[in-house]
């Protein structure tokens, strides 16, 4: 009973407080809000330990079982423990920042750079003119890409004292139809967020606790 009620009660109280504090500029509310943020950091720090334990256990089991890919699990284990170990000898200087700057940061940058190839392959699929919609997308994409580079402003003509170029057409596509669609999506997202929050505050959405929503309540 308590196992089910207490988390819902906590979620309701915390949710109502967070909603109220947004509108109430009283210093006491701000203090409690900041305290809640501090606690969030503390809880996060503790759960990070859970994450590390999960990671080590996951890879250790693979190594112990000599499962396929156990070698890579071994590399992950050694890397994780070595990084933690080097941090004890200094975070600002020594091996720890060296590992970050010379190993982790370049690997992350490499992966980020791979995005260019993934964008190319995804664009190839998206821009194939197989239907009217795809053709429109292809045309809009071509106009925007050309219009956002210097040559886009050179392609066009002057009429009525104004410059009509691919650049201005690209800006129109981005500022009018594209932005309208984006705002439509964002309004829907905002309403969805508030709706989810209300369901949690009212205790009718509880799947995040590992229970089906509406469980324990009379269904109509």
């Amino acid at each position: 009973m308590l196992e089910r009620t207490l988390p819902i009660l906590l979620a309701t109280v915390a949710g109502l407080f967070m909603a109220a504090q947004f509108f109430i500029p009283h210093p006491a509310m701000l203090r409690i809000y900041n305290l809640a943020l501090d606690w969030k950091q503390i809880v996060f720090g503790c759960t990070l330990m859970l994450g590390v334990v999960s990671l080590i256990r996951f890879h250790w089991r693979k190594v112990a079982r000599r499962a396929p890919g156990a070698f890579y699990s071994g590399v992950a284990l050694v890397s994780c423990l070595a990084t933690i170990g080097t941090a004890f000898f200094g975070i600002e200087t020594g091996l720890y920042p060296w590992l970050y700057d010379r190993v982790q940061a370049p690997m992350q940058a490499t992966l980020f750079a791979l995005l260019a190839y993934f964008v190319a392959s995804a664009s190839y699929r998206a821009f194939r003119a197989r239907s009217v919609h795809a053709t429109l997308l292809l045309a809009a994409g071509a106009v925007v890409m050309l219009g956002r580079v210097p040559i886009g402003d050179l392609i066009g003509f002057d009429a009525g004292g104004e410059r009509w170029s691919l650049g201005s057409l690209a800006s129109w596509i981005l500022d009018v139809p594209s932005l309208a669609a984006k705002r439509g999506i964002l309004i829907g997202v905002g309403l969805g967020m508030i709706s989810t929050s209300i369901r949690i505050i009212l205790g009718i959405e509880r799947a995040y606790l590992g229970q089906s929503s509406g469980e324990g309540q009379g269904r109509s």
């Binding site: 504090q21 947004f22 109430i24 690997m107 999506i185 969805g192 929503s213």
Partner: protein, 263 residues
């Protein structure tokens, strides 16, 4: 001492109207009135994806995104994970959930464990299937992409809030031939998912998903309230356009600002 910030009136009034609509529709739903909800193809395809994984004897991959547990998209993702895990457990199909945030890991483990219990197969649940990867954004993407290439899951779900790593994961999944269903409220990532995935839940559909899958009357009520709120916004925008033609200003919010601390 101030107990109300008048600069936030423009947020308070629409919020109260929307809360009133949600509560009103929930009460209506509890009375047993049937509420129609339109079909969402991406959610209808979930059964197809799970069925395909079952037929092929391959696992299902579920990525809950990169955000933390205090974000609504992650909460919505956990709700959907519960539904998918219950179905997967019913079919005795393995579901793996790599996590970036340790709090999300704890919640995901609990959600999947409960789902297996609800499906009557707690014996099939394995702690190692819901695991922690790394807090690094691209480290996470590399791990998920590597898993896809090695294990070849038959169905990939990317449900939650994603950043630049979305395309790396979705394109890798595309090359492995998996059926892919994505859902995100991150509008910059939507084009990538739409291009690389078979079905994409766009924006609010992510939040509607757990309601849609559960079909519980009380939750359906909140979904109808969202639709009604959208109708009100559309009417207000149209009123503003017509008003502008006749020189009538419907902008009641001038002079108020939504900016403020502690939000």
């Amino acid at each position: 001492m101030q107990w109300f910030d008048p600069a936030k009136t423009n947020i308070l009034i629409p919020t109260l109207v929307f809360v009133g609509l949600v509560v009103g529709y929930i009460i209506t739903a509890r009375r047993g009135i049937n509420l129609f909800v339109r079909h969402i193809p991406g959610l209808d395809a979930i059964d197809e994806a799970i069925g395909r994984a079952t037929e092929m004897g391959k696992p299902i991959l579920y990525s809950p995104g990169l955000d933390e547990m205090d974000q609504a998209a992650t909460v919505a993702s956990m709700n959907i994970l519960g539904r998918i895990a219950t179905k997967a457990a019913g079919y005795e199909t393995r579901i793996t959930v790599p996590n970036r945030d340790p709090i999300v890991l704890s919640v995901a483990q609990e959600v999947v464990r409960s789902a297996y219990q609800q499906a009557g197969r707690p014996d099939l649940y394995r702690d190692d299937d819901v695991f922690y990867v790394t807090y690094s954004q691209f480290g996470y993407a590399a791990a998920v992409a590597g898993y896809m290439v090695r294990e070849r899951p038959a169905a990939n779900f990317f449900i939650g809030h994603f950043y630049a790593e979305s395309l790396i994961m979705a394109e890798t999944g595309q090359t492995t031939g998996a059926i892919q269903i994505a859902g995100t409220d991150s509008d910059p990532q939507l084009p990538f998912f739409i291009t690389s995935c078979d079905y994409t839940l766009i924006g609010e559909e992510l939040y509607a998903a757990s309601v849609y899958l559960g079909r519980e009357p009380m939750l359906l009520g909140s979904l109808k309230a969202q639709d009604m709120a959208k109708l009100l916004i559309i009417l207000y925008v149209l009123g503003g356009i017509v008003g502008a033609f006749f020189g009538v200003n419907l902008d009641f919010w001038s002079g108020t600002s939504g900016a403020g601390a502690g939000g």
